[in-house]
Amino acid sequence: MFNKFKNAIGYASKIGRILLISNGIALALIIVAVTFAFYTGDYASVVFLGLSSAIMPISQWFLLKHKSASITKFEQKIEITHEKLNHIFNCIAAHFESPTPDDPNSLAKDVEVFTRELSESLTQCSVTLTNQMQALSIALDNQENERLQKIQDTLLPLIKTLSDAMKSYFNVRDKIDDTLRIQVADAKEMIERLEPEVLDLSNRLASMHELPLFPVSLRQLDQVVEVNLELDQNIYSQFEVIEHDTNQNAIALVTSMESLSINANNLVDFITKTIQTVTKMNTNSDTDVAFIVDIGHFIKDIPEKIRSDIETLQKATHVISDLGYLVDSIKEISFQTDILAVNAAIQAAHAGDAGLGFKIVADEVRKLAVNSNHAAEMIETGLENARKTIQEGLKFKALEGLMEEIDKAANVVDSVKNLEQNHEDMQQYYKTLFAVINKNNQQLASDISEILSGVQYQDIVRQRIERMKSTMSRRNELLELFIQELATSRGLLTEDFVAQMQSVLNDYLEEELHHGNSLSENSADAPPKFELF
């Protein structure tokens, strides 16, 4: 607001003056040039006129530039004044926000310096402002004086307000200075009062470290407590190690058990399926073997059967041959009957009429003999045919048996081939089966080994806890002794007690170092590794 107002004043006064002067000069020159040209008719007057017209804007530009620089300088001074005022207000605000400054005197000095600078700036501003006002009053005519009066009426309250603000500020600053001085004085007094007491307490505390407290000094007590604390920290660390290892071990155990379960189930499923295939292959083999066994029995029985058949047929042939003797007997009987009939016929002829009847009988007997012979020949022919038929039958039977044997033998070859293939398949099958089972067994063995390692860890934990227990027991014994010595005040406890306590700690650390620490050997997420017994 102030800046705008200031700019308005500057421009109003300076531009009015510049326009007035330059336009007056230009008008005069033009009148002179025109008059001169009218009376003389010389063109030089025109040149003069042009020059005079050029001088007017140049002079206006020069004056504007000069006044602009003056206004800028005035603005800068006002800006600096504002910045200093802001800084002082900030310092005051910071002072109230921080009621116990480290050095109150320095703040007071800052306030004083800035106040002085502000005062000087304000004075300079006032002088500049007054000069400007006076210049304006001299330069402007009556009409402009009226406008200037308005400006002055506006500016004067502003200056008054500014002056009041400065007075208020000086009052506040004085009050702050007084308060600060009082506070600093109080603080100094308090420090001076407490200083001997603090010094006394410091001296007493220093002397207490060397003051004997019955058998032990405070320094020894400190050492005992420090050693015990270190021991406790180590045992706590070991507990953390055990907790970490146990946690990782439990996770590893669960993982191994899951892997073991999956592998075992896969293997069981696989073997269950393979049993069906094996059963099928066994069935095929059994069928082939049974067929071959049947063929074997059959082949084995063939010679016996053939022998039996031959014997039977031979017997039949013998029987037929025996029947041939009967034919011969019949033929002989027929021949003898025929001879008898011939003789009877001769005798009947000798007997004449008396022998007619006997002749008839003799003829009939002869016919009987002829018929008998004929029958005997027919029987012989039939027997011969039967014998020939049997012999031919024997030949056919043997051939037929051979063919069957060949057929059977051909089937046996196929069966044997099937058996061979089946055997080959079974070899391949069991080879595959054993490869899979072997691979899975290795995996199972690995899983079981990891599980056993995990179980083994429980023993490691037990050993660690036993070592801790032993150490704590030793420590407690020493502490009991320490308490007894304190009670009896015999003064037996010396630096040796601290050394003994340190020895307990060192023994424990050495023993743990000897047994190793899984945390130092493995990554934080890896399960603990232990060798099996």
Binding site: N266, L267, F270, K273, T274, T277, K280, M281, N284, Q421, N422, D425, Q428, Y429, K431, T432, L433, A435, V436, K439, N440
Partner: protein, 122 residues
């Protein structure tokens, strides 16, 4: 592009596999049985091994076991069509339990082969 070793005693299938895989941009070497296959493995150093299971001289189970013993991270794809009483399912399940990365039951399509190779290389 990957280096692939194909082991199969069936010449026709072997050549077909080589043709398909070469067309997909892979470098392929073939072997007729497990003995030749393991020899090629030492010289060729493949990224993926595709092996049949039932083969003369040295079968696929032996090849898988031996190669996985040498390098447990090697990507192996087992292929099988079975033989008489030994089914493809049994062979491939066995191979899976031995630790192969992929299985293919014969006959299989080109897309199935491509997918199995991509999975094995992943």
């Amino acid at each position: 592009m990957a280096k692939i070793l194909v082991i199969d005693d069936e010449e026709q299938l072997r050549d077909l596999l080589k043709q398909m895989l070469t067309r997909d941009g892979h470098e392929v070497v073939t072997a007729c049985d497990g003995v030749e296959g393991t020899r090629c493995f030492d010289t060729f150093h493949p990224d993926v091994v595709i092996t049949d299971i039932i083969m003369p001289n040295k079968d696929g189970i032996e090849v898988i076991t031996e190669l996985l013993c040498r390098d447990s991270t090697i990507a192996i794809i087992a292929i099988s069509g079975g033989r008489r009483a030994i089914t493809a399912e049994f062979n491939l399940e066995s191979a899976e339990l031995l630790g192969v990365k992929g299985i293919l039951s014969k006959p299989f399509t080109r897309e199935q082969l491509r997918e199995a190779v991509q999975l094995a290389l992943a």
